[in-house]
């Protein structure tokens, strides 16, 4: 039950993921090079914060800087960005196309967890989406049926999924 510790010890923190993504996005038009001021604007934080956070990214070998203090992703930094972006797309697609979550909420939720799920889970999720879209009419129909599905929970608060505690009710009661 130490998963929460793994969450905190995650090598790629939420902040680091966002910095790498911002460097990638800002640098797209400039051969990969990004100015600290532009990164700060993209992340809505100060330049001082960006410069301090960049130190950690440099130590990990994910970014490099030049004499003009421009910042660029290294090959490994770029690979991290690609992986995070892939997970984001997979998650967003799963939330919207399979679960029927509104796109705006799906974007927020996928952003929160894109860098936290393991590569293997991301890969399985991508395969699952491919499975649904594989051309098998039964799979597509199943997904479509699910989006229209609204469970009526038994008053006892039990079912095959919840097994003693109604999980749907818990979500509805969430503060």
């Amino acid at each position: 039950m130490d998963t929460w510790k793994e969450f905190e010890a995650n090598e790629l923190t939420h902040s680091a993921a966002h910095h790498l993504l911002a460097i990638h996005d800002v640098g797209l038009e400039y051969g990969g090079w990004a100015r600290v001021s532009d990164i700060a604007r993209a992340l809505n934080i100060t330049r001082g914060s960006v410069s301090i956070n960049l130190r950690a990214l440099k130590k990990r070998g994910w970014v490099e800087t030049d004499a003009h203090r421009l910042v660029k992703l290294t090959a490994s930094g770029l690979q991290i960005v690609r992986t995070v972006m892939a997970k984001r797309v997979v998650l967003e697609t799963f939330f919207t196309d399979v679960l029927g979550v509104p796109r705006s909420q799906a974007a927020i939720d996928s952003c929160k967890i894109e860098h936290l799920i393991s590569h293997s889970t991301g890969e399985r999720l991508a395969l699952f989406l491919r499975f649904l879209a594989s051309g098998d009419a039964a799979n597509a129909a199943r997904a479509s049926r699910f989006r229209r599905f609204h469970a009526k929970c038994p008053k006892s608060g039990t079912c095959e999924v919840c097994k003693g505690q109604c999980l749907v009710d818990e979500m509805k009661r969430a503060i």
């Binding site: 600290v36 001021s37 809505n44 934080i45 100060t46 330049r47 001082g48 301090i52 960049l54 203090r69």
Partner: protein, 162 residues
């Protein structure tokens, strides 16, 4: 003489500069408790001086914004923690922060061309920040003791920063 109205995006940039200074102040406030090992006491004094000076700079920017008819808007998003660190490492972080402040003022300067009051103010800030950055670079380069960096006496013409 009444000053010309200033564009909103220029006020935004002044607020950003103020946020840089205020955040640096808070960063130094916390950083002084992280420094361990040789030079820790001197580093503590060094950062205490830096706290005062960054706050003075933030205040000066706030007054400029207010003089232009706006309420200063301070937007910072900051959590400061982290393990203990050596004085050299702390100085290197301070150098990064100061260099960014200097870059920010330099990039801002062309935007205030035509406003003599603001231009004079920004030029003074650039001069001060340049001095600070050079001082820290010198300390980092030569690995001198932090004891060499002493606060200026009251009434000196310029404030000092690390």
């Amino acid at each position: 003489m009444a000053r010309h109205p200033v564009p909103a995006d220029l006020i935004d940039d002044l607020n950003r500069l103020m946020a840089e200074e205020a955040e640096a102040c808070l960063r130094y406030f916390q950083m002084r408790f992280r420094v361990r090992g040789p030079g820790a006491a001197a580093a503590g004094r060094f950062f205490e001086e830096a706290i005062k000076e960054t706050l003075e700079h933030a205040d000066a920017l706030a007054r400029q914004i207010h003089a232009l008819g706006h309420i200063p808007a301070l937007r910072i998003n900051l959590t400061l923690d982290g393990a203990s660190m050596r004085s050299g490492e702390a100085l290197a972080e301070a150098l990064d922060v100061e260099q960014q402040a200097l870059d920010a003022y330099q990039e801002f300067l062309p935007r205030v061309a035509g406003d003599p009051t603001l231009e004079k103010f920004i030029r003074e800030q650039i001069a001060t920040e340049t001095e600070h950055v050079e001082e820290i670079k010198h300390v980092v380069r030569t690995a001198h003791s932090l004891k060499l960096v002493t606060p200026r006496t009251a009434g000196s013409p310029k404030t000092r920063r690390p």
